[in-house]
Assembly symmetry: D2
Homo-oligomer: 383 residues x 4
């Protein structure tokens, strides 16, 4: 894997966890991670469980113990690394957007095809169970002919004019702003669910045209800013209308200036027989409307896509125990481990378990006697 | 760890992932797992990454390469295992409810205290970031004196009268039904957030009093049922009113007969200065009301507890990328791995990346030229 | 009608509007209104369209041009007035709760029955279209056997300890606090939708036990308070568990101390085949779950109970134009009337209409020419 | 008033009710209503309380007992009637959209200005209290500089291809389809809240290009259709992007093909300091986000715009008793009136009141005795 920040963390975690949940035959081995800063990449490798590390991606590609190159670097380096990997006969998994330009993208595609290596791009939102389920409904004809999609991807993390010119706001590193970062996700969801685009009419805007420069290192944190400012060359917002090949029409809006929306990746699709609605921030739910529901009880249903029959869901937890449920356990184990470090029983412990039991028994006794029961009455039975 | 089913999976996952996200000094080692069915426990050990397995929990406790015993067995065996583990000098982490009876719970507590081992009980819902944040608000006085809690834990998985008499419906194995399984969680959340109970008045009900017996194996699936039926001795629903030591009052309802509610673990707490509301099925959100908000703009706020300052949240993803976000990556990697198995590029691949890029560029061109741009116009530039 | 405050206003409005919407044969005539304060009742009569007024309810009852006596006075006077009206051969429509005590209620019922007059009580929430529709679903068996009801009526208007001891907090005037005011509504909805109560276990609490006395007049406003305080004899909150004759069980909570809940009259009912949920603050919606929905698309549907087939709905507006829609017109007409008073065209006026038209035409032109169109380009065509 | 269908009903109701709620000095008198079908207009006049009627709008305008002409006819006749009314010295209140073309609109504006009469246009959604409150927030600078508006008006009433070619789908009568009917509302809300439009890029689409012709009468019901079909010349959907004079940008979508959305008139506005969101189907609520809320408790608040300080709200009901609350009374009075017609006490009546009282007393007794109390125990006290 080349790169180890936000996306590197998400990819690493997925490689580690996939075989825990699923019964895949091929099991990923986290062979090597690569980054230019030796100390940082070494730490990342240890933290995330990679067996080795490299500081030059060319060295990584040259290794013959590696089958797949995963590219999670800024957009500007995707093409060079991917093509080199393909030329070296490695399978390639690349972060989105694939490239800085269509011309680059075509060269990348040509390279993987010529060298006969497998390739994948990380449009991860396709893989939310609710999105896959929406796809199933559409494919099975439950929505009929598609008329509309309206997709938004709303964020607000750079609204402060003092937020600095980090790499994600750099034309050189990213090619665009909200457009390639956010609209690219909505475009992929639309292609996945509705079909191919035919034509578009767009509008791009940069609201804050000058921002403080970052001194030294860059990064999402944007904490280290200088007193100098520089011009912003990427878009803060990208809006467009679209016509699809199948006659559907759509509105798209990607912005980093929608206050109060931290990660509002949402869509609604309307077909002749039904509609679906999804919101990433409630990712386990799909709202579904069927026109053939009987009169008077038509309405959007909120479906928790966590049943055994929902895509990917059987690998995880029982119905209603949403994806994310397991994090309550991880967080609890943090406390457990801290307790072991300190030699102190963490809360909740057996004292809590005992007091909980006292309440449970008081309720049972109350239900049986049909009167109020004090906890002290229960506890005194054993004191 | 003793046991390896639903809870065993959740615990195992937490041990594996904790050091990936957090900077704990003590790192859990998954030394050994224990179960009576040798084939099944062996498979579980491999699947979940345990280094060895045992088929007798006494053997597990006897091993000196183990510091902590994690008990995820049915309730009826908690006391015996926990006390034995404590006697052997092992730290003990136990599933909830701690015991079948208050008397058992007291003996368990006495055992860990006498043997000076650390102990913890798995009330995992305390550790949702939104719940911890609610606790912070209460502790800091933001809600003032607490007047009310209303807590429900609503499920619907046994509403079919033909659903069989699985072990979770067995008085011998569990002690109670919804009461110990669900109400115990609400009681813990109430103790955590409001304080100690003073007295209660309860009602317990079994709606379906006779169910098909399970032949052979038992389990949540309940698929294998026989033609014979047996009486249900545990409650389907448990309701109670409560008074707390600090003067607050509460209503509690736990049921497995609330159709449409898959896992409705919810509470609302009202204090003199504010209120909080939480719903497990939207676990990243906390609704908060502050009475001192200025007049006319008072209302419940929906807070996405994913900011750096929210409890545990900094270990995970950027704001709005809710806990669970990483599963889109895991699901994607399943497809990637399947592609490698089959020797086919999975979707989305570089073809998709290229087409996405074409749309991105068409929008940019449209925005620049202030007219509609066909995708074919863009693609033909490079063909 | 005896009384003319909050409830008097709601009743008067209903008499005025019923024949506008519905095709009833008997048309209410607002013959006379009654109150002790002559100036205030005269003003109320004029404001609300009553043809005459009285200052003594005995005089009202004595009039032979009146068929129906509507009692909207504080609870303490219901019995005396209702019984006198019945004795005088008048039909009686009474505010809820019917009486201060069951003994009073029984005497009132005996009086109307003995005198053979018609009688009705104002449990108005039964008549929300969504509640009536829930009743239809239950009656038609769509929910099957009822297992659960959980009903809350949550308000927060007296949480300030400095809020004075108004008549609604007076034991003498009202008999109880939240109990008779709010729980009475939930009890009626439960009787309407679930059936008769069998037994109950309750808890009543007064959180603020001493409040400032009101000097002079009383009333909901509570603005005029004195420096003296007095004890509060009514409940701030009333909670209870219930068993119904048909085997259903329920939790009920009425409180004036649930911060952030202005008028949270809500219920959820779970039956063997389905569930319904309602919230007065979203009164046009009913959430409905059907267990026989096909697997994987089960979920609560949000139904806008405004279709022609929904109870009462056909009398009002087209689907989705919720009850309340007409108030946008009332508010607009206020501005229109103010404009006439001032001799100024109110906003929006024909200037707005013209500018709106310019945008509409610019969009049409843009859609036709497939390029951006400036508003000035359109406007200049006619300048 | 010229016209008496859907809009005629809404306007008539507003004239009748305005003085009931508000303290305006000028009180509307419903002098005369006008329509071509004598029987229908006579019935409408009686039903809605107009003192007289005319069958020729020229006759209406010629009357000297009329000060204001209210035009609720199809769009094609607005200009002719409005100009004639202005020439006759009448004030004019006109339905939206003002005209069929900008040219007509300019002539209408010129006519009212030349004749010095007052004029208003019915963009009623401005007058929802929540929308007015949004306006107040924006005007007071609480949202700061406006960046975005995204407005949708989604309906679904003509999705059935067999729905006939009613007058609202006629180019001659209406000029356009969703565009003038729905987008005109969103444009007005945007002008009201954000400011003047600068330029637009649009897309209009007709999904169903041929529909059954209506035989004989026309109308929204569309029930009477013939076997012949005709072409649809108006748009089913209208989408556009916009730039505003103040630098804000927007997306707009109006459609009658968004299944499951009965009347989805919604907008979200994002400014540098805050955001607001509104949905007509929850018209009493405004979601508000303030960027200057303290860290960790930022989130959209759901504000019930029913407090005394909210625009227009003081004229109606107490906080939380949303606009529409009074309809529960109207619907109840329908039952009361029906009871009088039939000579039967409607439900709920004094029997219900008595039974309700029994439950209330049982709860009180239970709370006092701290044990369960059967209803029969209470009732038997007085039998």
């Amino acid at each position: 894997m080349v790169g180890y920040k936000f996306m590197g963390k998400a990819h690493s975690h997925a490689y580690r966890d996939v075989s825990f949940y699923f019964d895949n035959q091929v099991e990923p081995v986290l062979q090597a991670i690569c980054g230019r800063d030796q100390a940082a990449v070494k730490e990342a490798a240890e933290k995330m469980g990679w067996l080795s590390y490299e500081t030059d991606w060319r060295a990584l590609i040259a290794r013959d113990d590696i089958d797949l190159i995963d590219i999670v670097t800024p957009n500007s380096s995707h093409a060079e690394i991917a093509i080199a990997a393909a030329e070296a006969g490695k399978h390639v998994f690349c972060e989105k957007p694939l490239a800085m330009t269509l011309e680059q993208a075509k060269r990348m595609l040509a390279a993987v095809e010529k060298n006969n290596v497998l390739h994948m791009i990380n449009h991860n939102y396709r893989f939310a169970p609710a999105v896959q389920f929406a796809k199933n409904l559409i494919n099975s004809g439950r929505l009929g002919r598609i008329y509309h999609i309206r997709a938004t991807y709303l964020q607000d993390w750079i609204m402060d004019p003092q937020f600095p010119l980090v790499w994600r706001l750099s034309k050189e590193a990213c090619g665009s702003g909200a457009h390639g970062d956010l609209a690219a996700h909505s475009i992929d969801l639309a292609r996945f669910l509705v079909g191919e685009f035919n034509e578009v009419s767009g509008l791009m805007e940069t609201f804050i045209k000058e921002r403080p420069l970052v001194e030294g290192s860059s990064g999402l944190s944007g904490s280290a800013s200088s007193s100098k400012t520089g011009p912003v060359h990427v878009d803060d917002a990208s809006l467009f209308l679209a016509r699809f090949e199948n006659g559907a029409i759509g509105t798209f809006e990607a912005t980093r200036f929608a206050g109060g929306n931290r990660n509002g990746n949402r869509f609604e699709i309307n077909g002749e027989k039904g509609s679906v609605r999804w919101d990433m921030e409630k990712m386990n739910e799909l709202d579904v409307y069927f026109h053939d529901d009987e009169v008077n009880v038509q309405g959007f249903r909120t479906i928790s896509c966590t049943e055994e029959g929902h895509p990917f869901a059987a690998a995880y937890w029982p119905a209603g125990h949403i994806i994310g449920y397991e994090h309550t356990f991880i967080n609890l184990v943090v406390e457990l481990v801290k307790g072991l470090e300190k030699g102190e029983s963490p809360a909740p412990n057996f004292v809590d378990g005992m007091k909980n039991q006292a309440v449970l028994e008081a309720v049972e006794r109350s239900a049986s006697l049909k009167r109020w029961v004090a906890i002290s009455e229960i506890e005194s039975k054993f004191s």
